[in-house]
Structures are given as structure tokens and as C-alpha cells.
Symmetry: C2
Subunit: 206 residues, 2 copies
Amino acid sequence: MDGTRRVRMDGEEARRRILDAAERLFYARGIQAVGMDQVRDAAGVSLKRLYQCYASKDALVEAYLEHRDRRWNDALSDHLGSVGEPRERVLAVFGFLAEWFGTADFRGCAFVNAFGELGPASPPVVAAARAHKNALRGRLRTLTAEAGAADPDLLADQLLLLVEGAIVAAAMGTAADPAERARSAARALLDAAAAPDHPLTAHWPS
Amino acid sequence: MDGTRRVRMDGEEARRRILDAAERLFYARGIQAVGMDQVRDAAGVSLKRLYQCYASKDALVEAYLEHRDRRWNDALSDHLGSVGEPRERVLAVFGFLAEWFGTADFRGCAFVNAFGELGPASPPVVAAARAHKNALRGRLRTLTAEAGAADPDLLADQLLLLVEGAIVAAAMGTAADPAERARSAARALLDAAAAPDHPLTAHWPS
DNA sequence: ACGTAGGGAGAACGATCGTTCTCCCGTGTT
DNA sequence: AACACGGGAGAACGATCGTTCTCCCTACGT
């Protein structure tokens, strides 16, 4: 038990490097397009080590999606953390998107890509994708409720569509400045969905 | 020249069957996940025939995307054909989506899936996906102009985001009734984007 | 100092895939 | 009736991929 401690430390370091490499490669080129050898090269570990850290490629893919979900949600939390006004918090989601779309390695939503690639053939991918999107839906639902929408669920779903659409459009380059267009649409939806008795959203700031 | 006529007819029939099978398989399971042998089995032709109809898998993929683009646009035209009112024509796009989402084999946008799967590694896929989405953008832009939007380009892009988002959400099952939610959002955007001097969109039918 | 456990590098293995080749049969022509 | 041609079925080939195995070296315990 204790004799393996040093080995364990190296193992965790290896796990981290493998996961980083896998995330970069899977996201950039797709899951089926990158082989374990490329992950090994990028991570700088041996194949033996790779397979003792992650028992199979499927396990590595699962870890990849889990890690990406956590990182994405943390990044969104960071971006929203400094915004106080409820209505501005909703709109800040699209500011987060604009920032994300501007990153050099942006290539759309990892979950949409994985889902489209593997589809229902891979239940773990389906589960991870649904969990990721449901979490986002829950967050939007919280934001719309705080912003005083008359029907927070409906508005959250509408905003979710805008977010998903902006991500896809940004990845494929089909709309000009998708984050900004989505934000302007979100403003219009916020105005239309304002509860009449809720003073916070009654004015017209744009 | 004339002696090959009978053969040519069989060849065109084979091409059709191959393309039908490829479209069904590629769309349902992804491109990399289906092999040429499965296409051959589903099409009921020999491998030799398959390769003399389509020189390579890449060529078949290109034909698949082209065919799907044409079929999708034709189906949308059919759905929009009977709608006369400009504003209703815009909303009918989401009726078309609802109908599409209800089909048994619906699995999202073939172009988004292919783009996410192959990504920038396959320039023909990128080109086909962009062409498909640009065509949709152009159609929306025509509809928003006819509906009398103050800024048809902006509204078309916003609607495009709703359409893309609804397709993704429907494929992944992340939002309840995405087509209806997207349509309600589109109504709000139409109301907000109405040109003040345009009588067609000034009333409030919903 | 010596034996041993464990990790690195990469060969090896079985499966699969895209693509081509071989063999065989049916058909139409003279 | 003999023959040349085209297509069908599937074996074969080379490449690649996920996974395992072999060989060698290094580092630690006694």
C-alpha cells in the first residue's frame, strides 16, 4: 500500500498529461480520427502507461467528456461571477460565448461533435452529452427565473436554442458574429418575456 | 456508344440504389462508422459496381451530402409553397422543422454531424456544409425581407441561430418541443424587428 | 553487489477498412 | 455452336487501429 506511493504520484501526473493530450486531440480532430498512438505521442507516455491509466479508448473518451464538461461549466461560472444584475447575467452568457468563439482552437461543442460522430451507438457519449446540455438548461432556467421572466422554463429553452445555434454557427462560420446576434435576439426575448409585475425587467435599456 | 445504353440504364439504377443506401447509413450511423461493405449490402450491388459508380468513399460522401442538400431544400420549398402571408412563411419554417423532427429516422443535421466528425480534415465536407447553411441563410434572408423586417440580415441570422439550435436540441433531446419553442421565439423576434412603417407586421396576431 | 520489480520503447496480433483482383457464369453476336 | 465480354461474389492486399506482449534497462531493498 505505502510502497506504491511514488508510483501513484507519477501515475496521477501521467493521467493528467494523457487527459490533456486526449482532450486537445479529440476536440481538434474528432474521436475516431485520432488513435491511441497519437495520444501517447502527445502525452509523452508509453502505451503501457496509457492503458494502465485508462483501461480502453472508450474509458478515455468518457474521461475526456467529463473533464470538458467540468472545465466548460467552470469557465462559464467564472465569466458570470462578476455580473450582478439578473438581466445582465443572462446576457453575459453570450459574452462568454463570444470569448469562447474567439479562442484559437475553437471547433464547436465537443458534445455535439461527439454525439454527431458516434451517435446512439455509444451510450456513454449520449449520456454525457445529455448531462452537459441539461446542466446548461438548468443554469439558464435559474438565470431566467432570477431575471423575472413570466415563464422561466420557456425563456430558458428559447435561450438554449440561441446558445446551441450560436455555437454551431460559430463552428461552421455560417453567420456573422453569432454571439452578438444571439445576444441581440436574447435581449428581444427577454423584453418579450418580462413579467408585467416585475420591475427589474420593465425598462428598455437597449 | 450505343451498345452501352442498356448497361448505362442499369448503372443509373445502381447509382440511385447506392446513393439511397449510403444516405440512410451515413446519416443514421455516421460516415466513418459505416464501411463500403455495408453500403454494398444495403444497396444490393457488388463491390465492383459500387466502385465503378463512385470512385471512392470520399466521392460517395460528397454525393451523399449533395443529394441530402437538394432533398432538404426541396422539402422545405414544398412546405413553404402553400403559405402566402410573408410573416406566416417565416413561421412555417419552424413548422417544417417540427415535421422533420417527428420523422422516425431523424438524427440531427447531416452537415453538422459530418462537419463535427470530419472537421477541417475534409475540405469537401466543409464546403458542402457551408454551402448548405449559406443557402438556408439566403432563404431566411429572403423571407425576412418579404416580411418587412427593418433589418432583414440581422433577423435572418437570428432566425438561423434558432433553426440550428432547434435542430441540435431535437437531435440530442435537450429541450422540450424545440420546434415549437423556436417558433415562439421567432414570433417574438419578428415582432421586435418589425419595421415601423410596414403595415404587414404591425399587428399582433399571437 | 545482486536480484527483482516495474516502467519505457516498440514489435506483434487480431480485427477492420478501403480498394483491387480473381474466378466464374450468363448473355449476346456471328 | 463457339466465343468474347461484362457483371456478380467474394477472396486478397495493404494500411490502420485498439490492445497486448516482449525485451531491456533502471532503481531500489537487503
